[in-house]
C-alpha cells in the first residue's frame, strides 16, 4: 500500500487522506514530524491553541521486519518548552500505522464544543467519533476497556488524565505488545493531544504490509544488522539489567544528580541499582528481559513485580529510577516502581514530574527520601489535578517559580535528566544546545566517525567538545528518522558492519542509493529546520545556556562546576 498523509481537522471535524508531498517523501520519524511542524505550524502560536498541530509518524523502516524499528515519533510545538518537539516511543502503533499506509497523521484545529473524540485508522481511511466511556480514565483502564471494545488486537495511542488536564508534562502513551504502556515522554505532547480533545487513536492495519523494493537485499542487510546488535556486549548488559545498569557507574563517576542536583553521589544507590533490581525481578517472578515492540532483539525492558509477585511496572528505565530515586533521595525500589506505575497511568513524563517533585522537596513541600509521600502526591494531587498537582504537572521550572527555588535544573524549561553536566561536560553541551530543551537522547553515542562526521579540531579542547556534541546530534537526528531504537548505537560504535547495514536496509526498502553523506545531510537538515523554527518562535542563543547554579555551585565529590562560556557554546550552530 502506498503511503499517504492522514489528516484530521478538529475544528470542523473533517478527515482526509492525502498524497505525500514530494518534499516529505524522503522523511520519516523525527525528520518528518519536524518537517511538517515547521511547514504548517506558526512558530509563535500558542501550543495549546488551534494553530498548533500534533503529528505522528512511524520511522522509515517501521512496519518492516528490520530489527528494532518500531519507534513512533510524535511532534508539535511543545507547551513545556515553547520549542519544536519530537518524542518517540516503542509499542505496537508505529508498525501498525506503517502497515496501514500512514506516512504521517496530522491532527489540527480545535473543537468548538466540549466533546471528546477518538480517531480510528485503517488502510486508506480515518474516522472520527465522539468518545465518552474512557474519558477521565487512567491509561491502563483505557487500554483494557478499548481492547475489549475493539474486539481484536489493535494499536492504541492515548492520553491519561494529565493530557486531558493539559498539564505541560503530559505524555502521549502507546500500547505495547503486553497491553501495557510506553510513552512519548518529553515536552508535554499529551497536553497538545488533550487540547485537540482527542482521547485516543486506534490503529487497525487489517493485514496491510509494507512494500519492500528489494526483498533479498533487505533480508541480507537485516541479518547483518541484527547480528551486530545481538552480539554486542552492551546489548547483553541491557538484556540483563536494563538501562538501570547505569546507576552504579554514574554514581561512581560523581555524575548521579542527588537531592535536586545538590550532590553527584547517592548513598542509597545500591538499593536502586540495576543489579538489585535484577535480583528483585528474579525473586518475584518478573521478567528480566522483555521487548517494547515486536522485532526488538536487545530487549532492554523488563517486567517488575511487587512483593506479592503481581505486575507493577515495565520498561523501568534508568532515567525514571534516577529521577524518582536519587534526585528525590528515595532508596526504595518498590516506592519508585509504584510511582512509575502511577506516572504511566496518569500519562505524565517520569523525568519532568520527578524532577519537579525534587524541586518541590527542596522547597519543603515534602522531605527528601519520603517515597510514600511522593507516591501520595502523584495519586492524590497530580492525578486529581489539585492546585499542587497542577503546579507539579506543569514541570520543574513552574515548581521553581511557584516556590522561589533557585536550583532548578532545566534548559528551555525542560528538566535535565540523570547525568550531572558539571561531572560530564559533554552531555551539558547537548543539554544546552538541543533544539528541544534538556534531553539526554538528543546527542547519542552514534559512531560519527563511521558516518564521516568525525571531529576536525582537538577533541579535548572546549571547541572540540562542542564539535563532537554537534556531530552526535546530527547523527542522532538522522537515526531518529528511521524508526530505530537509539540503542542500536552501541553496536554501531564497535561493529563496522552495523551502520552500513542500516543504510542498506533503507536503500532496499525504498529502492534508493543513500550514502553515509546523505545520512549526515539529513541530520543537518533536521537540526537546522528545528533551530529555524525555534528562532522564529523567539528563541535566541541566550536560551542555549545551563541554569546559573551549575556555574556557581561545585558538585561533590569532584567539586567541579560548569565552566563553558556562552561564546564557546554558540559555536555549536556554526555549520
Amino acid at each position: 500500500m502506498a503511503d499517504k498523509i492522514f489528516r484530521v481537522n478538529m475544528t470542523d471535524l473533517t478527515t482526509s487522506v492525502e498524497e505525500v508531498p514530494a518534499d516529505w517523501a524522503g522523511h520519516g520519524g523525527r525528520g518528518l514530524t519536524s518537517t511538517i511542524v515547521a511547514a504548517e505550524v506558526p512558530p509563535t502560536c500558542h501550543p495549546l491553541g488551534p494553530n498548533n498541530k500534533l503529528v505522528f509518524a512511524p520511522g522509515l523502516l517501521s512496519g518492516t521486519a528490520a530489527a528494532n524499528s518500531g519507534r513512533l515519533s510524535c511532534g508539535a510545538k511543545s507547551p513545556l518548552t515553547g520549542t519544536i518537539k519530537e518524542a518517540n516511543a516503542g509499542g505496537t502503533s508505529a508498525q501498525l500505522l506503517a502497515k496501514a499506509g500512514c506516512k504521517a497523521l496530522i491532527i489540527e484545529g480545535q473543537p468548538k464544543d466540549d466533546n471528546w473524540y477518538s480517531l480510528h485508522i485503517t488502510p486508506g481511511n480515518i474516522t472520527l467519533n465522539k468518545e465518552e466511556e474512557v474519558v477521565g480514565k487512567g491509561n491502563f483502564d483505557v487500554v483494557e476497556t478499548l481492547t475489549e471494545r475493539l474486539g481484536k488486537p489493535m494499536g492504541i495511542i492515548t492520553i491519561g488524565p494529565a493530557g486531558e488536564m493539559k498539564m505541560a508534562a503530559a505524555n502521549v502513551s502507546v500500547k505495547d505488545p503486553d497491553g501495557k504502556i510506553r510513552s512519548c515522554g518529553r515536552g508535554g505532547l499529551g497536553a497538545v493531544m488533550g487540547s485537540k480533545r482527542v482521547k485516543f487513536i486506534s490503529v487497525d492495519s487489517m493485514d496491510g504490509k509494507v512494500e519492500i523494493a528489494d526483498p533479498d537485499k533487505f533480508r541480507e542487510a537485516n541479518k547483518t544488522f541484527a547480528k551486530a546488535l545481538v552480539d554486542h556486549p552492551v546489548s547483553q548488559a541491557l538484556g540483563t539489567y536494563g538501562t538501570n545498569v547505569l546507576v552504579n557507574i554514574i554514581n561512581e563517576s560523581g555524575g548521579l544528580p542527588t537531592r535536586n542536583f545538590s550532590s553527584g553521589q547517592f548513598e542509597g544507590h545500591e538499593e536502586i541499582s540495576g543489579e538489585t533490581m535484577h535480583d528483585l525481578i528474579k525473586e518475584r517472578g518478573g521478567r528480566v528481559k522483555h521487548n517494547c515492540h515486536k522485532g526488538c532483539v536487545i530487549q532492554c525492558s523488563q517486567v517488575f513485580n511487587d512483593a506479592k509477585k503481581k505486575y507493577k511496572t515495565s520498561g523501568f528505565e534508568y532515567e525514571s529510577i534516577w529521577a524518582l530515586g536519587a534526585d528525590c533521595a528515595v532508596d526504595n525500589l518498590d516506592h519508585i516502581a509504584e510511582a512509575d506505575h502511577l506516572l504511566d497511568d496518569i500519562g505524565i513524563d517520569s523525568i519532568e514530574t520527578a524532577v519537579a517533585i525534587g524541586v518541590a522537596m527542596e522547597a519543603g513541600v515534602l522531605e527528601f527520601g519520603d517515597g510514600e509521600g511522593l507516591v501520595r502526591i502523584l495519586r492524590e494531587e497530580v492525578a486529581k489535578g489539585t492546585p499542587l498537582g497542577r503546579i507539579i504537572g506543569a514541570g520543574a521550572a513552574t515548581v521553581g517559580r511557584a516556590y522561589g527555588v533557585t536550583r532548578v535544573p532545566v534548559v528551555k524549561n525542560q528538566a535535565i535528566p540523570a547525568y550531572d553536566p558539571r561531572a560530564i561536560k559533554g552531555i551539558g553541551i547537548t543539554y544546552a544546545t538541543s533544539t528541544q530543551g534538556a534531553d539526554h537522547t538528543m546527542g547519542y553515542t552514534i559512531a560519527t566517525n563511521v558516518l564521516g562526521v568525525g571531529g576536525s579540531v582537538d577533541p579535548l579542547s572546549k571547541e572540540g567538545q562542542v564539535e563532537l556534541s554537534r556531530n552526535l546530534q546530527i547523527a542522532t537526528a538522522a537515526i531518529d528518522s528511521t524508526g530505530m531504537c537509539l540503542f542500536i548505537a552501541f553496536a554501531a560504535l564497535d561493529d563496522t558492519t552495523c551502520l552500513p547495514a542500516l543504510i542498506d536496509l533503507i536503500n532496499a526498502r525504498f529502492g534508493i542509493s543513500l550514502t553515509g553523506d546523505d545520512v549526515v545531510s539529513l541530520g543537518k537538515y533536521i537540526l537546522k529546520t528545528e533551530h529555524d523554527f525555534n528562532t522564529a518562535a523567539g528563541f535566541t542563543k541566550e536560551d542555549d545556556r545551563l541554569p546559573e547554579f551549575f556555574s556557581l555551585e561545585p558538585v561533590a565529590p569532584h567539586n567541579v562546576v560548569w565552566d563553558f562560556e556562552g561564546e564557546e557554546i554558540d559555536t555549536f550552530w556554526d555549520f
Partner: protein, 210 residues
C-alpha cells in the same frame, strides 16, 4: 583501614549454584584487599582470582579509580584508601564516555587526580574493589570461593533486604562452627568479616569441610 584490633570472623556459606548470581550483587558494595602501594590497576586486577589479561581487555570496559575513569591499565593505585570500581561496557552516551579509551572520552569532565601527600608510607594499602553488573556475575564465584573481606554492615544490610536469598543458604559456618541464619546478627557485629560463598556444585567445595 579496618580496625584490626577486633577479631575478624570467617563466615562460609554453602548455597545452591543458581543462587550464586544474586549473591554476586553483594560485590557492588565493595570488597577490601591489601595491595603493595603504587601497584598498577592492571597488575592488581590480574592478581584477582579468575582475572586474565584477555578478560580484562575484553570485558572490563569501564574502570574508575576514586571516581575518575581509567584508560591506562598502568595507572598506579595510590592514596590511603583508594576505591577501584570495574564494570562491563555500559549503555548510553555517558556509558560510552566512561569506557576506557573510548571515542567519546573527549566529553568527560577532567578534574585532576588528587594524590594524598599526607598518606603514610605503609607497606600495604587497603583498596576497596567494587564489581558491577556482568563482571560481578562472571568473576564473583571465583572471588567468593577464594574468600573476600568486606564490611559486616554491608553484608547485614544485603541479607536483611533479601530474606528469600538467605533462606536458600544450605549451610552456614562461622570460624568453622555451624551457625544458623538467626545467629548472623551476632556474628556480624564486628567491623569486618571474611566471607566465603561456595556453590553446592562447585568442585572447590571438595577442599572444604562441606
Amino acid at each position: 583501614m579496618a580496625n584490626r584490633a577486633e577479631p575478624i570472623h570467617h563466615l562460609t556459606l554453602l548455597i545452591p549454584t543458581q543462587a550464586m548470581e544474586r549473591f554476586t550483587t553483594l560485590l557492588q558494595g565493595g570488597i577490601i584487599t591489601e595491595i603493595e602501594p603504587a601497584i598498577s590497576v592492571g597488575d592488581y586486577l590480574l592478581s584477582l582470582p579468575g582475572f586474565t589479561s584477555q578478560y580484562i581487555a575484553d570485558r572490563v570496559e569501564t574502570i574508575f579509580l576514586d571516581g575518575l575513569p581509567v584508560d591506562d591499565l598502568t595507572t598506579p593505585i595510590t592514596g590511603s584508601r583508594p576505591v577501584l570500581a570495574i564494570s562491563a561496557a555500559m549503555p548510553g552516551l555517558a556509558g560510552a564516555i566512561f569506557r576506557k579509551n573510548s571515542f567519546h572520552t573527549a566529553l568527560r569532565t577532567m578534574p585532576l587526580r588528587e594524590t594524598d601527600e599526607s598518606a603514610p608510607c605503609e607497606e600495604k594499602i587497603s583498596v576497596t574493589l567494587k564489581l558491577f553488573n556482568m563482571v560481578a556475575v562472571e568473576r564473583g564465584q571465583d572471588l567468593f570461593a577464594h574468600g573476600c573481606l568486606l564490611r559486616s554492615s554491608g553484608l547485614l544490610k544485603f541479607i536483611s533486604k533479601r530474606p528469600q536469598l538467605l533462606s536458600e543458604v544450605l549451610q552456614c559456618d562461622c570460624d568453622d562452627k555451624p551457625v544458623t541464619s538467626s545467629d548472623l546478627q551476632h556474628v556480624l557485629q564486628g567491623d569486618m568479616v571474611f566471607l566465603k560463598i561456595l556453590a553446592a556444585g562447585d568442585t572447590r567445595v571438595m577442599s572444604n569441610k562441606f
